[in-house]
């Protein structure tokens, strides 16, 4: 992938990622998140992970974000009214986040392989749906089933937590 496209998508993703945090209006945040995830999906595809990219769009942009928007509208959350900003807390949080970033970047700069480019693929046909699927139902069968239980628990949990009237 030409680096121009990479930086374009990366830039879009990061800007909209930041907007999620900056926006005062929850709906704007949620919509920024959608754009951010679309950029992310593009980056996945640039790494030849088409299946994951598509899943990302379907699950996140399609399902999770709709859930978020639905809840925001259900609760009728308006833009945060300007509360007195706690500058100490804000500065503290900001410093911690920046320090974390600095540490991550330092680790990356100390990692030798980070300076290398990606090796070429053996064939351009990755056929990744098939490969991921085979692994998922074969090698990763056990975690896959655990995930099934997890979703069952989540379903039961959501019902328990949101039933208006307990039976």
């Amino acid at each position: 992938m030409p680096s121009f496209l990479f930086w374009l998508f990366a830039g879009v993703m990061l800007i909209f990622g930041a907007l999620v945090i900056i926006n005062r209006n929850p709906i704007a945040s949620a919509l920024s998140l959608v754009v951010c995830f679309l950029g992310l999906a593009a980056l996945f595809m640039s790494l030849d992970a088409f299946f994951i990219g598509i899943i990302q769009v379907l699950v996140y942009a399609g399902a999770v974000m709709v859930l978020f928007l639905f809840i925001i509208m259900l609760l009728d959350l308006r833009a945060e009214e300007r509360r007195t900003m706690n500058w100490v807390a804000f500065t503290g949080g900001f410093v911690v986040a920046v320090s974390l970033l600095v540490q991550i970047l330092a680790v990356i700069s100390r990692t030798q392989m980070a300076k290398q480019t990606f090796p070429p693929l053996a064939s351009p046909q990755t056929d990744d749906v098939r490969n991921v699927g085979l692994l998922l139902f074969g090698h990763y069968n056990l975690p896959f089933q655990v995930i099934g239980v997890l979703i069952l628990v989540a379903t039961v949990g959501v019902i328990v937590l949101s039933k208006r009237q307990l039976r």
Binding site: Q56, L121, S123, D128
Partner: protein, 106 residues
């Protein structure tokens, strides 16, 4: 050409942005979105590593992609339960602000 480091850097920034959201925003729903950013940052790194460490057949290491798949699923389930709790909280307290939920302390 883009290097692995470029992807890792972008992912790292996204992770830090997500974490800053948790630290700075007071609306639980936004905090939740920020958490999603963190998980997705991890996914980006994973996919980059998967593309970088080719398997013996010269294809990306699909093990990492399977893990990404699991992470997405878990994140979705977490969002579902989390939002259910937030809705219940809103019904009980009429707020989604973290400052307003501090009856348990010391």
């Amino acid at each position: 050409m883009t290097t692995l480091g470029d992807y890792l850097t972008v992912s790292g920034i996204l992770f830090a942005v997500g974490f800053s959201g948790v630290l700075l925003r007071r609306n639980v729903i936004i905090i939740f979105m920020a958490l999603e950013l963190m998980l997705n940052a991890a996914n980006l790194s994973l996919v980059a590593f998967s593309r970088f460490r080719l398997g013996e057949d010269g294809l990306p290491s699909y093990n990492a992609q399977v893990l990404v798949f699991f992470i997405i699923t878990v994140a979705a389930a977490e969002v579902a339960v989390g939002l259910a709790i937030i809705v219940a909280l809103y019904r009980a307290r009429r707020t989604t602000h973290v400052e307003d939920i501090n009856s348990l302390k010391f």
